[in-house]
Symmetry: D2
Subunit: 236 residues, 4 copies
């Protein structure tokens, strides 16, 4: 069995928390990392730490996504062999209180941006006949919760995109995966920490990163399209 | 068992085919019908036939949807007790050939319009504590096909909306349902007719209408949220 | 559209509650009914009421199921055009306390009996190129609850059987359907009645029966394989 | 993040192919392996190769499964910290040709044995508050194919068991996982090899083993309950 070892990766929707863990984990596994976010300045410390490049990009803007990939084409590392699409936006509350504009924005950031990034990514991967794209889902990807319709719409749509891309591009050698993050992610900066007597009741971002890494390293004879990660104490 | 008998219904996304069958079927069951489409002129013959009112409305435009419901409020029949959301738009083909604008439009018409109509509909139904809203899905609601990512995105999103609305509004007495139309609909005007030796291999729109009618008439103790309709010869 | 109107039906697993409602509903729609249960004596009052025939049969015993259908073949009504498979057995509690024998019995009554009855039923329907078989599922058909593994095993298995039979026999004109009864059924005899302020919070068996009837009457161009019924106040 | 490193594992349903790959992979990761099969003799070469112990056991027999675990309790390695349930049996063909006895056997080996092994396994793991059990599923776990009802019944039931056990035992520290092997496994001994121009079109058992290993090593803050593995060229 001849395993694939990707050399470069792009993480779209980078910030703190999960994205930093994944970036560190991928870098430790030998990938040259590029990180993209609307505000690239905040990425500097992480980029310095892991030797990554930062790019400013609004993932829901077709022109900016095209420019991002053009920049990568011209960078030292070239087009990424692995891409993670992570951005989401959400507005919650009683459906009757929701602003239509906010609902549209949720769809654009959470799902349409996934299309834009996915399209640019496969454009580069298709010729080489290899690559991996991971879409970050959530509980709302498979269950529409009350008072959270916009997020369900966006995450359902992203999963539909991922399925369609898997069916079109896996036979071309591009691994497409969808990860359902089915629980809250531990984030000390935001005060999301385990309660007494409930150790590991929030998702550890480093643990999630291990599973993202496993996915993008899978041999093409046994690809996983979809899995969920969930804390041991989470009900489902 | 005290059955509910709706008096009025609105069908959004009316045209020929399925929408005409549902409109006729609902009218025959005693509902006063309102039909909405971007082009209301084409609805005239059907409206005359079944005594329905026609309204012009772009379902993906928040202002037009609001105006549509305001018109209904002021009409003789008043706000509808039953609403069917049917519009969809799609662009197909290799993902690399898709225009981002067309993808965004697919999301807006297929899913965002469902939110707009659903929000206005429940605003009227919530006070009365009763009503029914049916969202028209497709095979692509639960399976993302290759070279059809935008439609999958739109129809997945619509299903997420329907689930979320069901969880929020069913306890308020509003029945939310999602119908997966899992096959081609017979349409003689467009040449979609059974092949020799394959009778009823396309969905008969009148048969689908019977199931829509059954759904909106269900007693609140035994509501169906989701079902699919599929020709006997269809593989799945 | 030329609707099918079945003349005879067999209900396996008859007793009180849902089975009586379905039997009455089907009889009222013009079907000559046969009812089967392990103890046929208890069926007498209902049989007299609706003019049905009662048969004793342990649905998990291959010989008894074969004999049941042989009796029907030789009866005045002949082989049934519609068959409902309803029996289930369950043992609940902490997995560590479960008796293996009881788990095996749960599988045999809940799922294996469905195979036995389904096989005999399609043997008669296949030649005529028409018929309908409905399998009664439960919440446990699609979700394995804690401390209820055996029932989940049985109901999941029954759903797998239903799917497989649908794919094999729908192209032969036999409609196969699976109904997920996703909530408790009102049963005054057993004290299962609505709490104050929660009207219709249990499934009304007469309401469920309307949906079973709709299913078996569907036109073959638009068959539903699966749907769920759920009270308006039920969380899901 | 403090990762768990299991010291012992039991593989039930061992033979050639996938089971040998998993056994080798787990042994290479440091686990002391025990292998069980109805015919333990055939396991000798593999056991010698990886230093594993072989046990004879009919997994569908409650007494034999109890005896297997009693033997393990008394062995040098003690009760296993990881258990994989792999056995299946199937009979295929037109439903009308199936022998009821063979259908019952399919349920017993494929699903009931999973219960027996799972029950004995958690009995040992529950006190320690840790462990992992993986159930081997198949395409038929989530889709009932025509002319293969018994296998669908068995694999659906096994998945129901796995879900129920996950909900009951994950909060007790025992990781339960279900793997859908969605494709054919390469097996040179049986002539299942790639066709010209279709490299890696069958699942490489060593690649699958990597994913099983990843699953049983996951940190409890981010457990995967379910995933599928599928060759890049497989349609789905």
């Amino acid at each position: 069995m001849n395993s694939w070892k990707p050399a470069t990766a792009l993480f779209v929707g980078a910030g703190s928390g999960l994205s930093a863990s994944i970036a560190r984990c991928f870098a430790a596994a030998g990938m040259k990392m590029a990180l993209a976010a609307r505000n690239a300045d905040k990425l500097k410390p992480l980029c310095e730490e892991i030797g990554a490049e930062a790019f400013a990009c609004d993932a829901s803007d077709a022109g900016e996504v095209e420019a991002l990939f053009a920049s990568l084409d011209n960078s030292a590392n070239g087009a990424p062999e692995v891409v993670v699409y992570n951005p989401s936006y959400r507005v919650r509350g009683p459906l009757l209180d929701l602003e239509p504009k906010e609902v549209a924005k949720t769809l654009m950031v959470t799902a349409f941006g996934g299309f834009l990034v996915g399209q640019q990514a496969v454009r580069r991967m298709a010729d080489k006949g290899r690559g991996a794209i991971v879409f970050t889902g959530a509980s709302a990807s498979v269950k529409g919760y009350a008072r959270s319709a916009p997020f369900a719409m966006g995450k359902f749509a992203l999963r539909g995109l991922a399925q369609s891309m898997a069916r079109e591009f896996q036979p071309a050698g591009i691994h497409i995966a969808h990860v359902n993050i089915d629980g809250g992610i531990r984030n000390e900066a935001r005060g999301i920490v385990d309660k007494p007597g409930k150790p590991d009741s929030f998702l550890d971002p480093d643990a999630i990163a291990q599973t993202y890494l496993h996915l993008v390293m899978q041999h093409r004879s046994a690809w996983t399209f979809e899995l969920e990660v969930r804390p041991w104490l989470e009900t489902f």
